[in-house]
Symmetry: C2
């Protein structure tokens, strides 16, 4: 169930190389990783769990409403993170030339289904 | 000099409510804050300095290239952060209905000028 939704997002995103549904503790519930071997996608997801914990903390301190989405652009990758609820989020990694707008759209569209599957 | 560039970005961004040029230590070099009083923009910039430090650390661990840009969408705000060099970055805050694409474009376009002014 999770698996199909996640695989669909990677395949439709254009430039998608991996996706993880994971908890703020850095433990993945489900992943779909392509054969892209230039980076450890597992490690990447865990590192982004730390980033997201820090964003979540900042957002709570600032009282600026629910954290929805974080994107990070580096020299080699685009990463889009979407919070699902207080415990879980999705991390989608794209190659640098990927379509970040489409990735954000797909995660927004599929988030309710993932939340439902988690309930 | 900084001041004019920063003010121009806020004014052109559409929904821009504040901008800070700051170091990873959380100390602002220059700010341009509107009268928007529903959030402490100073505190917001400092909190995002912490977030960015964590992103920077993750990017270094993962060796995924230079960190360029981070965006965060919450229930109330959009925040676009653009790294200028190893020491400084810019944080632009927009209202939730702001134009994140335009904000990203303006920061990308003005980054070289800000880097030059810092040198």
């Amino acid at each position: 169930m999770f698996s199909d939704i996640l695989q669909g997002i990677v395949e439709q995103s254009g430039g998608g190389i991996g996706i993880s549904l994971m908890g703020y503790d850095g433990i993945a519930i489900e992943q779909h990783l392509s054969d892209y071997d230039e980076v450890d996608l597992q490690l990447l997801a865990v590192e982004y769990a730390n980033v997201l914990k820090e964003v979540k903390r900042a957002v709570e301190v600032l009282n600026t409403g629910f954290m929805e989405e974080v994107t990070v652009k580096t020299g080699r990758f685009l990463v889009v993170v979407r919070a699902l609820n207080d415990e879980y989020f999705v991390v989608l990694t794209l190659t640098r030339d990927g379509n970040i707008g489409k990735a954000r759209y797909l995660l927004m569209r599929e988030a309710p289904k993932l939340r439902e599957a988690l309930a």
